[in-house]
């Protein structure tokens, strides 16, 4: 039985290779029939590919139902210089830090794994309860504020774009973040200069 099948294999293989060689002489990758057949099967799989693509694309809605990332934080006069203000900590996840030179809108999301650090004014640092990451508080050089110095945090806390709105209120846009480790704290919007 085994011998039979092997011989059959041999005979069939030689016959089929012969046929292929002859038909290769025509156009359309073979012959017209196999060309149309390829088109037909191609459309069949193409349709289902399109369906899968459409289904996955459909999972990305064009309209997202989340609150706006921009908010107004009140007038600069409401903040005392040299303090970290926590009024927007729970509602917007932002600390408003007023130094003697201006304002910083600081993210409350720890850069280690996302917990919310505590502000410890006595020790002048932000300390994360989850794994002990520590970030500097208000320092003489504003570029030191919120830099990670202890614990597993790999980078400083992020800052959000902070500007003065037309009506004089502080406008914070959380959609735009500035990363200290990339030197972005020098860019306009990372710090709002304000005296008085």
């Amino acid at each position: 039985m085994a011998d039979n099948t092997q011989e059959v294999v041999k005979a069939e293989n030689s016959a089929s290779t012969q046929k292929v060689v002859e038909e290769d002489k025509h156009l359309y990758f073979g012959n017209r029939r196999s060309f149309l057949s390829k088109i037909a099967w191609g459309s069949f799989f193409g349709y289902f590919g399109l369906f899968v693509f459409g289904s996955v694309r459909g999972l990305f809605n064009r309209a997202i139902y989340e609150p706006s990332k921009s908010f107004k934080a009140g007038f600069p006069s409401e903040y005392t210089p040299g303090t970290v203000d926590e009024r927007f900590k729970s509602t917007q996840k932002v600390w408003i830090i007023r130094t003697k030179d201006g304002f910083i809108a600081q993210s409350t999301v720890c850069t280690h794994l996302g917990c919310t650090p505590r502000w410890l004014p006595a020790e002048n640092k932000f300390k994360c309860p989850c794994h002990g990451s520590g970030f500097y508080g208000i320092m003489a050089d504003p570029k030191e504020t919120a830099v990670n110095f202890e614990g597993p945090a790999p980078r400083p806390l992020e800052r959000f774009k902070i500007t003065l709105d037309s009506d004089g209120q502080i406008l914070i846009n959380k959609a735009i973040a500035f990363l200290g480790e990339k030197g972005q704290w020098d860019q306009p919007g990372a710090f709002l200069p304000f005296k008085g």
Partner: protein, 382 residues
């Protein structure tokens, strides 16, 4: 037996005559392909049978069917189309479930979102609705065809009953789904439909004899304690109705329908496949119409595989192979076992002798012979 079942080891890239196999041959004889399909790629009768028998989805079918059973002018294909539409509605329905929330605050807005904001949302929703309407139509046309061809007559009576229940389930699925968009069309269509429920005798609060029944049993005569309340979850069509209909539409009714579909297909196979006129020419001369039998094909895979093998390798080959393998087995085993093998041997002889390859009356005759002979032989040896 080893030669029949195992595919010869063709994993060498070098062929018997020394030439190299081309890419296609390597693929079709490679480990990945043969582990999935377990039979080779050549087009012969045996592989055609194995293609059906070895496939979990396709082995719903037998390996061979009567020619008139594949005639679309006879069957209209409506049963198969209904199944296809059920699958289409299920798939599109699941996609819709990513956005639709079944509460009165969100339902309508989610529909608007689907039609305008979600990419391809309108397409999926449209396909769901049109496939659903088409399924109701196709189920009715299927019933129509089955009646006109008398395919509910014995032995298929019970399958017709299952079919009627599937019809009702399809209508219920469509009805529960109709409410979900929560627009004016939906809510009033369902109000009209469900107001019938308040007129149920005894159990509906506006039905005949309901007050008397309520006094007796405490149920049926009040709007908050009648059968319509079970449907609506309230005294009017409202938010609880929406949630109930949603659960019915997406979970309960599809599961029940799927179960009944399985039974429906099982019965089709067991009752002999697509109905056809009695095979008068294959029975002994029978003049009384009531004695004509409907052919019932044994669906066991072994039988179909053997049939396929017989067609491919020829009956003579089949007998020789069986004999050779049984001889080998006999040599290797003890007396008791070899006696048993003798018994199987004899039974196989009977099977082959009585079997006629091209007709199917062997289905009736030889299976019964087989069973009889087997029992007789076993008795002899004990």
């Amino acid at each position: 037996m080893s030669d029949i079942i195992k595919v010869p080891n063709k994993r060498q890239v070098v062929k018997a005559d020394g030439g190299k196999k081309d890419l296609a041959q390597q693929f079709y004889e490679g480990q990945i392909y043969t582990s999935i399909f377990r039979h080779d790629y050549k087009d012969n009768k045996r592989n055609r049978a194995l293609q059906i028998v070895n496939n979990v989805f396709l082995h719903l079918h037998p390996t061979r069917v009567s020619r008139h059973a594949i005639d679309v002018g006879y069957t209209w294909g409506m049963g198969g189309i209904t199944l296809l539409l059920f699958i289409v509605t299920a798939v599109t329905g699941i996609l819709l479930m990513f956005y639709y929330r079944p509460t009165s605050e969100y339902a309508y807005n989610d529909m608007k979102q689907l039609m305008h904001d979600v990419p391809f949302g309108a397409f999926i929703r449209n396909m769901h609705r049109w496939a659903a309407h088409s399924m109701v139509i196709c189920v009715m046309l299927h019933m129509y065809r089955v009646f006109l061809t008398g395919s509910y007559k014995p032995p298929r009576e019970f399958n017709w009953v299952i079919g009627v229940n599937l019809l009702v389930l399809t209508l219920a699925l469509s009805f529960t789904g109709y409410l979900l968009p929560w627009d004016q069309l939906a809510i009033w269509a369902i109000t009209v439909g469900s107001n019938m429920a308040r007129a149920v005798p005894f159990l509906g609060h506006a039905g005949p004899f309901a007050p008397e029944f309520h006094q007796l049993v405490g149920f049926g005569g009040a709007p908050d304690a009648d059968v319509r309340f079970i449907l609506l979850g309230g005294t009017e069509v409202g938010a609880p109705t929406l949630l109930r209909f949603y659960v019915l539409h997406t979970v309960f009714l599809p599961i029940v329908t799927a179960v009944l579909l399985a039974v429906h297909f099982w019965r089709i196979r067991k009752d002999g496949g697509i109905s056809g006129p009695p095979m008068i020419e294959f029975h002994k001369a029978v003049t009384d119409a009531s004695k004509l039998k409907v052919s019932v094909v044994d669906h066991l895979p072994k039988y179909e595989y053997v049939e396929g093998f017989k067609q491919t390798e020829g009956e003579q080959n089949f007998k020789e192979v069986v004999k050779k393998d049984l001889d080998t087995l006999k040599q290797k085993t003890s007396t008791k076992l070899s006696n048993l093998i003798n018994a199987i041997d004899q039974a196989a002889e009977q099977n082959i002798k009585g079997g006629d390859d091209s007709h199917s009356h062997d289905d009736h005759h030889d299976n019964s012979n087989d069973h009889n002979k087997n029992h007789n032989n076993n008795n002899d040896h004990h």
